[in-house]
C-alpha cells in the first residue's frame, strides 16, 4: 500500500485544487455566517453547484467520457473528494444518482436511455432517487410488492416505496417492481425509470427521531409508464438491482471515512473540559472510539489500493460501516456524558448526531444482514436454510398471510 501520491496523482490533485481555489466563492454556504436556510434555496444552490463541479470535471470522475465524465479511476475520485472536503465546499448533491444509479443505467440501459438521462443527471439538472426499499422489503429486498402490470403500449404501476432520499425534489427514480408474481421471488422483477412528476406519484416526507425529514415515502397509484421505461430485460430486474447494490458497496466502502465521524472532532468536544481530559474512564472510551475511527481511515486507503489493482470491493467494505456507526454511537454517548443534558439540547450538533445514528445502523443494509453476507461470502460459512427458494412469489405471500393469521 502506498499512501503517497504518484507524480500523476499529485498533478491531478494540483489541478483539482486549483479549480476549487478559483471557484470556491461560487459554492453555496451551508453552515456558519450567511448560510442558506430555506430548504428549496439550498437544493437549488446545490444543484447549480453540482453543475459547476461537472463542468470543472469534479463530478462523475469515474464516468466514461462519452457520458460527460472524466474517464478516470477511483483514486482520482478519492482525490477529488479529499480536495472538495479540504476546500470546505459542498460536494455533489446527487451522490446516489452519480455513484449508483447512473452506473446502473450505463450497465443495463438502452442507448436512448443513456443519451436521455445521464447528461442532466451529471449536471444536477435532474436529480434522481432510488426506489428500492418498501415497508415489507428492506433486508429482504427481493420481496418487493410494488406491481407493474403490462398494458397496451406500456405499464401501470401500483404500490409504495420507503426510505427514499431526495424523492421530494427528484426528477426521476429508478424503481424495482414485481412484474410476474407467479415466478419465484427473485425472477419476476423488473427495473423501471419513473418520472417523479407523473400522475399518481405522491411523495411524503418521513420525519425521523431528530424531527427532520431526510427520507420520504413514495406512493404509486395507477402510474402510467411508457414501454421504454424498462431498464434491462423484463423479469430480470434482480440482476439489474445487484449492479446498483455493487456500486452502493463501493460508495459505502469509500464513503465510511467521510461520514464526518472523525476522532479529532470528538476529541475537541471533550478537550475544553480539564476534568474530563484527566478522567481515566473518559480517556479509555475516547481512546477506543478513536482507534476504531483511525482504523477505518486507513481501511479506506486499503480499499483504494484494492481498486488500483482492479479488484472490486467485496461485501467486507460493509464492516467499515458497522465500525463507523458503532464508534459514532459510542462517541455520542461519551460526549453527552461529558457535556450533560446541554449536549442533548435540540439545536446542538450532538443531539442531531445522537438522533441520526440509530437509523443509520440499518441504512445501506442492516448490521445483521451485512454480517450474514460477509460470513457467507468472505469467510465462506454456509448460508442459513431458506424457505423462499423456488416458490412462486404469490404462493409465498399466501403462506406468510396464513402464518400471521394463525
Amino acid at each position: 500500500m502506498d499512501l503517497k501520491d504518484t507524480p500523476e496523482q499529485a498533478g491531478y490533485r494540483a489541478k483539482v485544487r486549483a479549480w476549487l481555489e478559483e471557484h470556491t466563492a461560487e459554492a453555496p454556504v451551508l453552515s456558519g455566517p450567511g448560510a442558506l436556510t430555506d430548504p428549496d434555496e439550498i437544493v437549488a444552490a446545490r444543484r447549480a453547484w453540482q453543475g459547476k463541479l461537472a463542468e470543472g470535471g469534479l463530478a462523475g470522475v469515474t464516468w466514461p467520457r462519452e457520458f460527460g465524465g472524466q474517464g478516470l479511476g477511483p483514486i482520482e475520485q478519492v482525490i477529488t473528494g479529499q480536495e472538495i472536503s479540504r476546500a470546505g465546499v459542498p460536494g455533489i448533491l446527487d451522490a446516489i444518482g452519480i455513484g449508483m444509479l447512473g452506473p446502473t443505467i450505463m450497465a443495463h440501459g438502452t442507448g436512448e436511455q443513456k443519451v436521455r438521462y445521464l447528461g442532466p443527471m451529471l449536471h444536477g439538472d435532474e436529480v434522481w432517487c432510488q426506489l428500492f426499499s418498501e415497508p415489507a422489503a428492506g433486508s429482504d429486498l427481493a420481496a418487493v410488492q410494488t406491481r407493474a402490470r403490462q398494458v397496451d403500449g406500456g405499464w401501470v404501476l401500483n404500490g409504495q416505496k420507503v426510505w427514499t432520499t431526495n424523492a421530494h425534489f427528484a426528477s426521476f427514480g429508478l424503481l424495482l417492481a414485481r412484474t410476474d408474481a407467479d415466478a419465484p421471488k427473485h425472477k419476476g422483477l423488473t427495473m423501471f425509470v419513473v418520472p417523479m412528476d407523473a400522475e399518481g406519484v405522491t411523495v411524503r416526507g418521513l420525519r425521523q427521531i431528530s424531527g427532520e425529514a431526510e427520507f420520504n415515502e413514495v406512493f404509486f397509484d395507477d402510474v402510467r409508464l411508457d414501454a421504454d421505461a424498462v431498464v434491462g430485460p423484463v423479469d430480470s430486474g434482480w440482476g439489474t438491482a445487484l449492479t446498483t447494490l455493487m456500486f452502493e458497496r463501493v460508495t459505502i466502502g469509500l464513503g465510511s471515512e467521510s461520514m464526518g465521524y472523525r476522532e479529532g472532532r470528538f476529541a475537541r468536544a471533550i478537550a475544553s473540559d480539564p476534568a474530563a481530559c484527566r478522567d481515566p474512564e473518559v480517556r479509555e472510551r475516547l481512546g477506543e472510539i478513536a482507534a476504531d475511527l483511525l482504523a477505518i481511515k486507513f481501511q479506506g486507503y486499503r480499499t483504494i489500493t484494492a481498486l488500483q489493482r482492479g479488484q472490486i470491493p467485496g461485501p467486507e467494505a460493509g464492516l467499515a460501516k458497522v465500525t463507523v456507526v458503532n464508534a459514532a454511537i459510542a462517541a455520542g454517548e461519551l460526549i453527552a456524558d461529558v457535556l450533560g443534558p446541554d449536549g442533548l439540547a435540540e439545536d446542538s450538533e450532538w443531539a442531531y448526531m445522537i438522533s441520526f445514528l440509530p437509523g443509520l445502523k440499518s441504512a445501506g443494509g442492516t448490521e445483521e444482514i451485512l454480517r450474514n453476507t460477509i460470513g457467507e461470502r468472505v469467510l465462506g460459512l454456509p448460508p442459513e436454510p431458506r424457505l423462499d427458494k423456488g416458490i412462486p412469489f404469490s404462493e409465498l405471500r399466501a403462506k406468510e398471510k396464513e402464518a400471521t393469521a394463525a
Binding site: 500500500m1 499512501l3 503517497k4 476522532e263 479529532g264 476529541a267 475537541r268 471533550i270 478537550a271 481530559c277 484527566r278 481515566p280 473518559v282 480517556r283 479509555e284 475516547l286 481512546g287 477506543e288 478513536a290 482507534a291 476504531d292 483511525l294 482504523a295 477505518i296 481511515k297 486507513f298 481501511q299 486507503y301 486499503r302 467486507e316 464492516l319 458497522v322 465500525t323 445483521e368 454480517r371 450474514n372 460477509i374 460470513g375 457467507e376 468472505v378 469467510l379 465462506g380 460459512l381 454456509p382 448460508p383 442459513e384 436454510p385
Partner: protein, 362 residues
C-alpha cells in the same frame, strides 16, 4: 518477506512446542532460522550490515511469528537495534548478523497524565521509575530494576534507558555479563514468551548518543511489533474457528450456518481488519509521519490486543468444550493473548495514549 517468513517458520513444530514448553519441554531454537532470514538486521541500516528495512517489514515478520506462536526473540531485539542504529553504535555489525543478540529494557515515555520515564513494575498497578543513571564521559552507570523484559534471558547486550538526576533520559549499551547486572528468567502463562526481571546495580555501559524522541520511538515501535504479532495470532484463531464451524453439525446443519456463530466470527474478522489497517498506519507513520507514530502505534496495539482477546475466546466458544481442553491448540492462542495484553504497559495504557495524543492535539 511474508512468504519467506512463513516458509522458514513452517519447518518447526512451534505450536506443539508451545504446549510442551508449558510442561517444561524445550522450545524449538528459532534463532538460527532468524539469522538465516536476516531478521536481526531488519532495522539496521545497510551501511551497518543490516537490511535497512522499515517498521512495516519488521511487523510482517512479527505477524508471521504470531501466526504460529513462534518464540523468536524479536520483541526485545528489534527496538534495541533501532536505538543502536540511531546512535551510530560502532559494534552493530555482529548484532545485525545475529552473532550477538541484544535486548531492550522497555522504558515508557512521559504522557500527558503520567509524567516521567517509567518501566514495568514487578507487580501492582503503579509503574516503576526508570533506573537512575549517572553519566561520566562515555560511561553511564545505572541502578534500578526493570521487570518483565522481553527476551532478556540469554541476551548478550542490554540496551538500557535510565534517567539522570535532572530528569533527562539517557541510553546505554550494557554487556549482560558486566558486574552489577542480574537477569532472572520468568515465565508467565505463555511459555513461548521469554521474559526476565533485569536488575542493574551500578552496572556500567557505553553511552548511546540518542535523543528522547529516539527512545520514545523505540517504545512505540515495540507497541506496533506486539500488535503485529497479535494480529498474526488472530488470523490463525479465525481460520481455526471458521474451519470448525463448517465441519461441526448440530440439528442437521453446520454450526457456521447459524447467525449466532456466523456473527461472532464476522466480529472477529471486523476486529482483525481494523487492527490490520492500523498496522498499515503505524508502518507508514514510522517513516513518513514520525509525529503521528505514537498515535498510530498505540491505536494498533489497543486494537490488536482487544482483537486477540475477542478472537481467542470466540475460537474456544466456537469449538465448545473441546476448545477448552489441554490437548487443543485454541488455549495456546488464548494464553498468548492473555500475557501479551499485560506486557509493555498493557493494552489499557495504549488506549490511554491514543486519547492523550488526541486531546493534546485538540
Amino acid at each position: 518477506m511474508r512468504e519467506a517468513a512463513r516458509t522458514a517458520l513452517s519447518r518447526h513444530k512451534t505450536i506443539e512446542g508451545a504446549r510442551d514448553a508449558l510442561e517444561g519441554g524445550a522450545l524449538p531454537d528459532l534463532w538460527p532460522t532468524a539469522k538465516d532470514a536476516g531478521w536481526p538486521g531488519l532495522l539496521v541500516s545497510e551501511e551497518h550490515g543490516g537490511a535497512g528495512l522499515g517498521a512495516f517489514d519488521a511487523m510482517l515478520v512479527m505477524q508471521e511469528c504470531g501466526r504460529v506462536l513462534a518464540g523468536v526473540p524479536l520483541l526485545g531485539l528489534l527496538p534495541s537495534t533501532a536505538i543502536l542504529d540511531a546512535a551510530g553504535y560502532s559494534d552493530i555489525e555482529p548484532l545485525a548478523s545475529g552473532v550477538v543478540r541484544s535486548a531492550w529494557l522497555p522504558a515508557r515515555p512521559p504522557g500527558d497524565v503520567i509524567g516521567g520515564w517509567t518501566v514495568e513494575p514487578r507487580g501492582g498497578k503503579a509503574r516503576a521509575d526508570a533506573p537512575s543513571a549517572s553519566v561520566e564521559g562515555d560511561v553511564v552507570t545505572l541502578t534500578g530494576t526493570v521487570a518483565f523484559v522481553p527476551d532478556a534471558p540469554g541476551a548478550d547486550l542490554l540496551v538500557a534507558v535510565g534517567v539522570t538526576r535532572d530528569g533527562e533520559p539517557v541510553a546505554a549499551a550494557v554487556p549482560a555479563g558486566v558486574a552489577g547486572v542480574a537477569i532472572e528468567p520468568v515465565v508467565r502463562y505463555d511459555a513461548t514468551r521469554s521474559l526476565g526481571h533485569v536488575t542493574l546495580d551500578g552496572a556500567t555501559g557505553e553511552r548511546l548518543e540518542v535523543s528522547a524522541a529516539d527512545l520514545a520511538r523505540a517504545w512505540h515501535l515495540a507497541q506496533a511489533l506486539l500488535a503485529a504479532e497479535s494480529l498474526g495470532a488472530v488470523e490463525t484463531t479465525l481460520e481455526m474457528a471458521v474451519r470448525y464451524a463448517k465441519e461441526r453439525f448440530t440439528f442437521g446443519r453446520a454450526i457456521g450456518s447459524y447467525q449466532a456463530i456466523k456473527h461472532g466470527l464476522t466480529e472477529v474478522l471486523r476486529r482483525q481488519e481494523n487492527a490490520r489497517s492500523l498496522l498499515y498506519y503505524a508502518g507508514w507513520a514510522y517513516d513518513d509521519r514520525p509525529d503521528e507514530f505514537a498515535l498510530a502505534a498505540s491505536a494498533a496495539r489497543a486494537s490488536a490486543g482487544s482483537a486477540l482477546d475477542f478472537a481467542s475466546r470466540q475460537n474456544i466458544t466456537t469449538h465448545g468444550g473441546i476448545g477448552a481442553t489441554w490437548e487443543h491448540d485454541a488455549p495456546l492462542f488464548f494464553r498468548r493473548g492473555q500475557l501479551s495484553r499485560r506486557l509493555l504497559g498493557g493494552t489499557g495504557d495504549a488506549v490511554d495514549r491514543v486519547a492523550g495524543e488526541l486531546l493534546a492535539a485538540a
